[in-house]
């Protein structure tokens, strides 16, 4: 009886140990992968045409969904802001509330989550399928570095596209807030705009920009890594894609908290 209990305990400890080793190993491999990408960015040839293709895939192809989400987010913010501020007799500040929320927080975070869901999953699935159909091995057999050829354009495109999409999100979001606030809720156009211009400073814009850049970095790193290390078959691609979206989304939200804390202190 005791022997069985001991063997169960040993087996459980082994499983737990193996689980921890797997996590540590995966974490280490992800950092090595990132290091390889960063080293490869400046290696020749630069292959700008591949970067342009990825900018189109990540940036242009995401813009419609970003615009749609941004417009409605701004509209909701205006409705909620006007309702909350009306309790304090401060509806004049609706414009600044909409703009500050979008620039400092919702613009970068929602853009990142949308891009991760749309383009990140696509990158992971595409690279994963290339992995299981031996296309990555084919590249290596032809003396072409797959990190440089496949990963670098996607990673750099993520870094460039994310701040641009975020800027678009903010502008359209403010537009949506203006249409609802001024057009439907009857707020004064002049007050909406002047309060917004008065409240928003360059430090807010810097804060949003830095966040979107960091989120672009996370997006590229996670989606490329998960695709590149994809397991076997359809199940492998399925698992990699799910893990990519979940990991990147959670990472964005966790990093957002720390970035907000740091940037608020830095720009105070």
């Amino acid at each position: 009886m005791v022997a069985i209990a001991v063997s169960h305990l040993v087996a459980s400890t082994e499983r737990f140990g193996s689980f921890l080793v797997d996590i540590a190993e995966g974490f280490g491999k992800a950092w090595i992968f990132l290091f390889k990408i960063l080293l490869s960015i400046f290696k020749l040839p630069l292959r700008l045409h591949l970067l342009l293709v990825q900018l189109y895939q990540i940036g242009v192809n995401s813009s419609l969904v970003i615009a749609l989400i941004a417009g409605f987010t701004g509209a909701v913010l205006a409705v909620q802001g006007e309702y909350t501020l009306s309790k304090f007799g401060a509806t004049a500040f609706t414009g600044s509330a909409v703009a500050l929320s979008l620039i400092r927080e919702l613009g970068p975070v929602l853009t990142a989550l949308m891009v991760i869901g749309r383009a990140g999953s696509a990158i992971t699935a595409e690279v994963g399928i290339m992995r299981i159909t031996e296309q990555i091995d084919a590249l290596r057999s032809m003396a072409v570095d797959p990190i440089k050829y496949l990963m670098v354009p996607r990673f750099v495109a993520g870094l460039i596209a994310m701040p641009l999409l975020c800027a678009m999100f903010i502008v359209i979001g403010i537009g949506g807030g203006y249409v609802v606030g001024v057009g439907l809720l009857g707020l004064s156009s002049g007050t909406f705009m002047s309060q917004m211009i008065h409240a928003v400073g360059l430090t807010d814009v810097y804060s949003g920009f830095i966040k979107s850049l960091v989120f672009g970095f996370i997006f590229g790193w996670v989606s490329c890594y998960k695709g590149y290390t994809c397991g076997f078959g359809a199940v492998g691609v399925n698992k990699a894609t799910t893990q990519s979206v979940v990991t990147a989304s959670v990472a964005v939200l966790v990093v957002d908290y720390f970035l907000t804390s740091i940037l608020t202190r830095v720009f105070l």
């Binding site: 031996e134 296309q135 290596r140 057999s141 032809m142 003396a143």
Partner: protein, 250 residues
């Protein structure tokens, strides 16, 4: 042309290759056969330098690919190789023409674009692919995709051509077409061939030497005739696809 010296490879606790040594002669086609999961494709990836052995060395055209310290050094050795993958591994986003052009552009050895296009056109004509030049891989049959894979592997004029299960999943007619293609191409371009297969005895028609892998090592090496006439029970069982015999089906 290729020397595999005492190579050991394992994945986790599973030993795949356990001290394999093999010499592949220049200008000859060596076929590596064995049951599924015996390590044939692993051996091919070791020759390509995509995997590294735990122990042992692999020399390609006299250069040690296992000891190459950087990817750049490995890439220089890989320039001797062309590979036809099991699924052809064509790039979905490129046309047939661009797939064949790809290795020429990426290697950058030929600077003149007209010269590269001439080489691609010649290769497409040689393999009767000219009518499919603008098709995408998804638009052509699997047999045709193998042909394109062959054209892509041959266009850089490699010294060695590796074939990873070239007719797995093909019907007998298309399978025979692939063997004919290998034989014709070898006659025309004179490469050293390494074929991975478990299609016996069909693969013998393109083989000069046959090597059988089992339990992580070579159990027999010889000409196709040696294999047909052998008394080795394991080889006999595998050759004639018998379920009863010394090889346990996994």
């Amino acid at each position: 042309m290729i020397s595999v010296v005492n190579v050991h490879k394992r994945f986790g606790s599973q030993v795949v290759l356990d001290g394999v040594s093999l010499e592949i002669e220049k200008g000859k086609t060596t076929t590596i056969v064995g049951p599924s999961g015996v390590g044939k494709s692993v051996l091919l990836k070791l020759i390509m330098g995509i995997l590294n052995p735990e122990k042992g060395e692999v020399f390609v055209c006299g250069e040690n690919i296992t000891k190459a310290e950087t990817e750049h050094e490995r890439n220089l050795i890989r320039r001797h190789l062309g590979v036809l993958f099991q699924s052809a591994a064509l790039f979905d986003s490129l046309t047939v023409y661009d797939n064949v052009l790809f290795p020429l552009v990426e290697r950058g050895e030929i600077k003149c674009r007209e010269e590269m296009h001439r080489m691609v056109e010649e290769m497409l004509y040689s393999l009767s692919l000219e009518d499919h030049a603008l098709s995408y891989p998804e638009e052509i049959s699997i047999g045709m995709r193998k042909r394109v894979g062959m054209a892509r592997a041959l266009v850089t004029k490699p010294d060695i051509l590796l074939f990873d299960e070239p007719n797995t999943g093909l019907d007998p007619l298309v399978g025979q077409e692939v063997y004919d293609l290998i034989a014709e191409s070898k006659e025309k371009w004179g490469f050293t061939g390494v074929v991975i297969s478990h299609e016996l005895p069909e693969v013998f028609q393109v083989s000069d030497t046959v090597v059988m892998l089992l339990r992580g090592n070579i159990v027999m090496q010889g000409s196709p005739e040696d294999f047909i006439n052998t008394d080795n029970a394991e080889v006999q069982q595998f050759l004639y696809g018998r379920t009863d015999g010394p090889i346990r089906i996994q």
